[in-house]
Symmetry: C2
Subunit: 439 residues, 2 copies
Amino acid sequence: MRLTNYFLPTLREIPAEAQINSHRLMLRAGLIRQASAGIYSWLPLGYRVLQKISDIVRREQNLTGAHEMLMPTLQLAELWKRSGRYEAYGPEMLRIKDRNERDMLYGPTNEEQITEIISDTIYSYKNLPKILYHIQWKFRDEVRPRFGVMRGREFLMKDGYSFDLNPTSARASYNKMFISYLRTFARMGLKAIPMRAESGPIGGNMSHEFIILAETGESKVFFHSDYLRFDPLKEKVDYSADLSKDVALWTELYAATDEQHDEALFREQVPPEKQHEGRGIEVGHIFYFGKKYSDAMKAEVLDSNGDMVGLEMGSYGIGVSRLVGAIIEANHDENGIVWPAPVAPYNVGIINLKIGSKECDEISEDIYARLKEARVDVLYDDTDARAGAKFANMDLIGLPFQVIIGPKGAQKKLVEIKTRATGERIECGVSDALCKLMA
Amino acid sequence: MRLTNYFLPTLREIPAEAQINSHRLMLRAGLIRQASAGIYSWLPLGYRVLQKISDIVRREQNLTGAHEMLMPTLQLAELWKRSGRYEAYGPEMLRIKDRNERDMLYGPTNEEQITEIISDTIYSYKNLPKILYHIQWKFRDEVRPRFGVMRGREFLMKDGYSFDLNPTSARASYNKMFISYLRTFARMGLKAIPMRAESGPIGGNMSHEFIILAETGESKVFFHSDYLRFDPLKEKVDYSADLSKDVALWTELYAATDEQHDEALFREQVPPEKQHEGRGIEVGHIFYFGKKYSDAMKAEVLDSNGDMVGLEMGSYGIGVSRLVGAIIEANHDENGIVWPAPVAPYNVGIINLKIGSKECDEISEDIYARLKEARVDVLYDDTDARAGAKFANMDLIGLPFQVIIGPKGAQKKLVEIKTRATGERIECGVSDALCKLMA
């Protein structure tokens, strides 16, 4: 993409309304613009990140055997009256009347809707287990929306739902999602630690939050530092196998957010040199709640004895739009965003320091064409802005690598490659640069 | 995908509530389920088609230099009051009050919102022209929703917007979208004909509808039959070139829906043997409306003389969810859907007629594994259903090719390939079959 053609309205000023780093940086780097309180438009650069995150989520979900579908944003209030949550949900639920005065709502989650679909279509244990998910916009009418996409009103979530015949099988589904979540966040270049959690308004028996570490995170977290050494991508996973040992590995050491933290237990279970305190951000949450919804909504199947039994259910959420903010909280410096490569909107930014110079233009165009040909996502700053502004802008938007073409080097056919995360700059020839950037 | 693992709840009965073929077939083939009047959940098979259509739209849009972004579903009423459309839009606009009693609405289209974004971010003619688009759910509160996704309330639309300095440049943007729409529909295996149209509630000076032909279409259409011979994909397009001649080719012959039809003109302009009457479905609509919104919302830039001038705008819509229904209306027979290959949810269906037979299982598994390896989208019916039910089901869901493995043939290492569109069946060896299916 050539910057002269692109739509990337970056801001020089720090927006006064933004209180946290990720919100400021998302506005400044031209990723989003506020449409109204807690509701954002995703500009092209931000939308690319949102899509890259969604694609990683989708790929990892599909590997578990989960099926993607899409439920609508608006739901009937009746459905929620049947589960008993319509009144219970409170003013965060956006209630709507259509032109026929029918009570509807903008879905904050989809347990009721998916349970109805399953109870209408699955009659036999032979069609179980099933895990279904969708990536869809939700609405939660926060009284005081803030922190940008970290606590928006209209937000994008992956929510998945498992349906099993019995608790043993349900636990296996839960384990699949547990492991898949660890891998999903690791694929984004994030370190996520599962922490036992309260079930809250979803209800149920077992629940884990997935917390990524960020110095500026919303919650204090306490955990055994061995978790920092575990790598969920170390081995390939066979999702048809028993994953309980893998889950045990990730749950037997101490890990808790401040809400659940028990200082005495922490001191007792974790040796002093392994007691890690930090801050984190919740990016995923999984729940096993048995028959809570299937009982309320009569979602039953015939078991192998011919008896009707209620379905065992779990639900599994990833905050897709929230992740954009969370990733920035965990990956930025004083100059801007530092994207992990897998979610970067472009992987390479080309800075031509002297547009109009024959040498600079030729080398820049050549590198641009060859990277595109090699299907490297590349953004070429071909504007006539000053060098300083170009450097600042490229640092702000945080692409993993920059190629800098200046008149002095260009005469000797040399360019500079800068690694955004470390600031390291190396000078090299064009073909060396291409090798490095295509690696 | 193995059918035993999949979630594909097909229906044997013809749903009484569905009045048109596409709606009946989408329910029967397990593509969608109704959530409430005019609002549908997309089941896995249907969601795959929706994604394939979206991907084709996205690819063709990007080729024109348009940029993808994403605006939210909910908008502020204030925005629409500024353009004067808030009252004008009538009861089809879903009006919402949030918990702070703020007037909002579920966007039926986004002219106001994108104009505000552009007027806040683009100040100079140097940053023009721009075309931006998004693929997002819309809501239109139809008084009597019907015909399934063809006239739903919550529907997926690609809407794009062009911003230019002057009418000449705006016309060039319009031409880009015009040609790109022809190519987009052709990529889906559809024959689309542009027809001059009224601008309706969008307003403006020039407008074309894109109509695909279907015997069961909603509108009568009258056109010069030479349009049937034109192929928009015949040559590569250079979107930076002047496309007015290409547009002229597609607009100078007579073509009109019944609303715009002038019988006398039709008889006068088209030789009798070329007068084609048929039925069609609107799947796209493009508008050039000049300064209608930029004047109302003060979207201005500095021109090269340093004067402030209002932006010239156009808007460009494709009914993405509607296309799923429209494609089925244009491609079905008495046994079910007949997907054009580019939008088929899977390209090949494997029917193992005797699960448990060593020969049948081995050949089926081998073909399944090899097609997956070659990245062919394949659905394997590995259920123990009767042969008749398997044939009927596979015809109903309409994948382009079926591979049928029966016990007799399997002993001789022979399989049958059935082409869904023609019904043609040929017997061949496994490697011949694979060659044909990977072609």
